[in-house]
Amino acid sequence: MTEAAAALAVNGLTVSLAGGEPIVEDVSLAVAPGAVLGLVGESGSGKTTTALALLGFCRPGVRVVAGEITVAGETMSGLGEAAARRLRGRLVSYVPQDPESSLNPALRIRRAIQDMLDEHAAARELSTVEEALESVHLPATGAFAERYPHQLSGGQQQRVTIAVALVCEPPLVVLDEPTTGLDVVTQARILAEIERLRRERSLAMVYVSHDLAVVSQVADRIAVMYAGRIVEEGPTAAVLGEPRHPYTHGLVASIPDYARRRSLRGIPGVAPGPGDRPRGCAFAPRCPLKVERCELELPELEEVGGGRRARCFEWRRTSALVTEARKEARTGAWEAGPLLAVESLSAEHGRGHARVVAAHQVTFTLARGECVALVGESGSGKTTIARAVAGLHAPSSGRILLEDVALASKARKRPKEARRRLQLVFQNPYDSLNPRHRVRDAVSRPAVVLRDLPRRKAEAEVGELLERVRLPARLANRFPDELSGGERQRVAIARALAARPDVLVCDEITSALDVSVQAAVLELLGELRVELGLALLFISHDLGVVAAIADRVLVLEQGVVREEAPVEALLTHSEDEYTRRLLEAAPRLPVRSAAS
């Protein structure tokens, strides 16, 4: 691919904070017409900053300090805001992450598309709003175009933003996590749409995502970013099948995949933020292949054969890193008698005409030491069931029994012992810890309230609890906002463990985390099950995650249990149509082949 023919060429892009700390350093990329480049990285890796720079845009407090960006032969970098805006939409356009907040709720969707057309009317002969809607498989009727964004589903909203991005037929489209937040079935449809548009129009795309499995479905080439730099770049199958950089390897090993059940390996530690990146290789502190040189010198992005580049001195040794098959926590029958039993539980939201059934006649049991997963799309009622079990949502009928004793529907009415034995870990670790309480206060509180320990004694246990969740004991003095997402979720788990529970209800506890962190948290939960004989009620939308941890799975659809089966049987030969649909839609990495 020659420079002139490339749809996108980026050379030595460096983007910094106003204070001079670089967010993105020395990024060079090229995308051929009709090709899709996957730009992959975890939070803070600089992928979104890079994507925005491709549009000649920087967030407030951030600026491009070096580098050249060329889109279809025209220079995008170094332009003023007005000049960049003229090129945006015509030359390069953007599909944002969250369609709900990026479409103006006060404007009909016709207006949203028409605005884009008006802006570039002089540029060329353009299509109409109806044609734009039809191109993304939305109803091309006037009535549909007159709708407001809130009258569309999440998937339809994202199609509208794609239509807006494509209506002026730019040669390059930047998509920033376009399917994050959508359920798997909708996600699969959007991905198919993107693939079709690319084929039909030979569009070049930069697809930004943290999700390697999603990217592997659409991208020809992948660039992996870590701490602001590209650490590996090459053809998709080769990069994912045989990673050359230890970070890519760790990332691939972190990705749960229901069809290949193996124990997930998290990457220890956290990525350095802008300003505290080390002098040498930024990944060195977390790298299993680290040698002395890694901490002293920055490796170059060098050719490693097969049209691939990797930024690692030791890339030849990466292929020796191995992944293991999942170890079963236990085999055989569980102890007789269920620890927790849910009997014909029904629950509703709202009242009167606005009443919505969230769960209908749900029955299941959980044995001591067992892990049962509730799986379903958003709106399937899985979180409501978890909240009912924890005493936060009063069911409309049905019973919840803990060792054959029926529990009151409200937590406060339950005996202290029952509250102690049943602990809940929440989905969002940014929300479940009080920002004004130190880790010590948060973790010691359950022991004070539920085990009647004096405060001093409860606080004395905190160090041990933190070590149990693989955190250094010194974090006890910190406030939550000084911790990363993964650390916070570990603190939340430590807080639950402080009550010495028998059952841990985990409500989507990894969905807000990066994959490498998610893998580490799942790994921890697996170990805690063995160490403490904990039973887990594990709520998730992600079949891959469930495959990595659960013994038994209940599939929920709109509050009804569609299927209950041991995890192995459910994943390999499910009879249920809905389950199969979920399985087919779940994004997966391409099956590992010898890439050469």
Binding site: G61, L392, A411, S432
Partner: protein
């Protein structure tokens, strides 16, 4: 980070509003007015109540701000006159926060009828014109400092309740509150431990505005002669008594009026910069 470094950091965080121009100016002006009110009496050259000169005589070496309607030293009266307005307004504001704050917390946290009952009651109180309400109350209860403070507090409390209810509502659906509920903690414990510390920021930002409003109300009532009674020295009362002498000795009006204006402006600047500093630390620089 060590514990000491941590404490220093959180202290710096707390006083970050001083780093801005508005914050620093507001803080300095407030300090100045507070110093005059608190320490003024110790520096007053004459008695604030003894007539010693010719009414409305212009400033001289003996009386740097001249004499008032009864021939008392204006400087001495001004130096004495800040205590009452600040103390009354401060007390009324604190009372408003105690009553309104509690009502707002309970209303925001309860998912029952308690919320609409409290808030509709607050709406009724808000619908009365503030000054008229206080004047009616004082007319009924008799002129006293207690009635004045109670009146201002009652007028302010529903406004405080509204702000706190909204802030509490926002916090009460958060995960850490649910975690406390699932632990079986009582309502009081949840409010005190989980919610209150997280609604301090809006309170801090609002306090300046509230206090300003109390100062204006107290001064207005005093001006009408229904609060403090002569011969007490009070900035508002001084303005009120000497209205007729504005052309003869303008200083007798300008100085106390200027002090009240400085006080309210400084509180506004300070409240504004505190709100901004808190807003910034919430949002963070980069997501």
């Amino acid at each position: 980070m060590s514990a000491a470094a941590h404490a220093a950091e959180s202290l710096r965080e707390r006083f970050r509003f001083l780093g801005t121009a508005t914050g620093a100016i507001g803080f300095f002006l407030l300090l100045l007015v507070l110093a005059i009110a608190a320490l003024g009496p110790f520096f007053a050259p004459h008695s604030p109540t003894e007539p010693i000169g010719v009414p409305f005589e212009r400033p001289s070496a003996e009386a740097p701000l001249g004499y008032d309607v009864l021939g008392r030293d204006v400087l001495s009266r001004v130096l004495w006159g800040g205590r009452s307005v600040l103390a009354l307004a401060g007390l009324a504001t604190l009372l408003a926060y105690a009553a309104g704050g509690l009502a707002g917390l309970v209303a925001g946290y309860s998912r029952s009828l308690v919320d609409p009952i409290i808030m509709r009651g607050a709406d009724v109180l808000i619908s009365f014109p503030a000054l008229l309400f206080i004047l009616v109350l004082i007319t009924g209860a008799g002129t006293s400092k207690a009635a004045l403070v109670a009146g201002v507090a009652i007028v302010q409390a529903p406004l405080v309740a509204r702000i706190l209810r909204t802030a509490t509502l926002e916090q009460s659906v958060r995960g850490f509150v649910e975690a406390a509920v699932a632990r079986g903690e009582g309502t009081f414990a949840v409010l005190r431990r989980e919610i209150l510390p997280n609604v301090v920021s809006p309170i801090a930002a609002d306090f300046g505005l509230r206090f300003t409003y109390s100062v204006i109300l107290v001064a207005s009532v005093n001006f009408f002669g229904l609060g403090l009674q002569p011969p007490d020295a009070d900035w508002a009362l001084i303005i009120s008594e000497n209205r007729d002498g504005l052309t003869l000795n303008p200083w007798v009006i300008l100085v106390p009026a200027g002090l009240i204006a400085t006080l309210t402006i400084s509180l506004n600047l300070l409240g504004d910069s505190v709100a901004r500093a808190l807003g910034r630390s919430r949002a963070g620089v980069l997501a």
